[in-house]
């Protein structure tokens, strides 16, 4: 495209961008709840906009806005889907379909489960035993994360997730011979996203870096959390 046309296109896009920003009010910073700890991510204050995480120091004068999410965790769930998003990873000259899934798994001892199976307990008794054990050991759990970028399946490790599950940061482990890595923990990238609830839609925005390989590059992440997971997302979200 020759230069005059490109200039006109850029001016048009800029005007469109500013119009959209004014309409949506994205320029208003939203801060985390004052009582919310920074957590392992250190996300005490975040700019809500295009998913670009701002330095805390840059926004210290912005007025606090009431938090819109309420954590209502159910400690009894054995398997919980914390995040299940589908969207795009956008780079300079390419874009790929992106899927991110975060599970929260209660750590049960398989030997305990097999003992319950051997004892011919009913399903109700088994559930009661598991819930009872859960109360005793205070419910140890772990996070498992998976990501599909284009055609490659990755695992997410070192998952840092804020208590309200809106801020995610994790290392990306590269695929291995068409299967998941089995003991191979070579870090292939890094992902960092923030999920916000906007008029009925949960949007995850952030950054993804893949260090090498077919999908190597830096991407912007834009994805929508699946609606059915909203019921289990532990957030009482405001309705439009």
């Amino acid at each position: 495209m020759d230069r005059p046309h490109r200039r006109i296109l850029n001016i048009g896009l800029t005007a469109l961008l500013l119009t959209c920003l004014l309409i949506s009010g994205f320029t208003t910073p939203i801060k985390a709840h004052p009582g919310m700890s920074a957590g392992p991510l250190g996300f005490s204050e975040l700019e809500v906009g295009f998913g670009i995480f701002q330095d805390d120091q840059a926004d210290t004068k912005a007025p606090p806005v009431p938090r819109i999410e309420t954590v209502t965790r159910d400690p009894q769930m054995i398997v919980e889907v914390i995040q299940a998003s589908k969207g795009f990873a956008l780079a300079d000259n390419e874009s790929h379909v992106l899927r991110v899934q975060i599970l929260r798994l209660r750590q049960l001892q398989p030997s305990d489960i097999r003992r319950l199976l051997r004892e011919n307990k009913s399903i109700g008794e088994i559930r009661a035993e598991i819930e009872k054990a859960d109360e005793v050991d205070d419910g140890a759990f772990l996070y498992r994360g998976y990501m599909k970028l284009g055609k490659n399946l990755y695992e997410l490790v070192d998952i840092n997730l804020t208590e309200d599950a809106t801020l995610l940061e994790a290392e990306v482990i590269e695929p291995h011979g068409g299967m998941w890595p089995d003991g191979d923990t070579k870090v292939a990238g890094h992902i960092r996203t923030k999920t916000t609830y906007r008029e009925g839609t949960r949007i995850s925005e952030g950054e993804l870096s893949i260090y090498h390989g077919k999908y190597g590059g830096d991407y912007l992440v834009l994805a929508e959390d699946s609606h059915h997971m909203e019921r289990r997302c532990h957030m009482e979200c405001p309705r439009a």
């Binding site: 469109l16 398989p110 906007r198």
Partner: protein, 164 residues
């Protein structure tokens, strides 16, 4: 540092502005939108030496019908969480055992982990299209972790025998 192109910003902005506008329509529009919800399955299967299994996991209530093994199993379901006790997953062959989990319909997200007794000798794992797996050893179990996206009629077959 990520370079952000103006065109990308414009696309993102348009999507973010239009998506809520589209989703905040009438009740009928909301009903239509629900059709596009992602269908997800997340299960853990604990297998005993005797061949029965405890299945625990997350599934939406309207999707329970796609787990055919539940028809011959005892199960409890409450608020998305399934507990099922079944002996319908293991089939005995002449020279090996086969653990089979077949689920109907298409799943946007599929995650199942099988916790197999460490006494077994794993032969092979057969999967349907769009599923991938890995094998891990953990304490007293062999884990077969299966994951997939956009999996249609996903099936997992694990062939094993009891080692000497």
């Amino acid at each position: 540092m990520i370079k952000i192109r103006l065109s990308h910003l414009a696309i993102i902005t348009i999507v973010l502005v239009l998506a809520p506008a589209i989703s905040s329509g009438s009740e009928s529009e909301e009903a239509d939108a629900k059709v596009q919800e992602l269908r997800g399955l997340a299960l853990e299967v604990y297998l005993s030496v005797e061949g029965n299994a405890l299945v625990i996991g997350y599934i939406e209530s309207e999707d329970l019908e796609y787990l055919s093994f539940l028809e011959q199993s005892d199960y409890l379901y409450e608020d998305g969480e399934l507990y099922a006790l079944t002996d319908c997953l293991v089939f005995s062959g002449e020279d090996c055992q086969r653990l089979e989990l077949v689920v109907s319909t298409q799943w946007d997200e599929y995650y199942v982990t099988f916790y197999l007794p460490h006494e077994i000798k794993l032969d092979r794992v057969d999967l349907s299209e769009n599923l991938e797996y890995r094998i891990l050893e953990q304490d007293d179990s062999i884990l077969v972790e299966v994951l997939g996206y956009d999996a249609k009629e996903p099936s997992v077959e694990i062939f094993y025998d009891y080692g000497q």
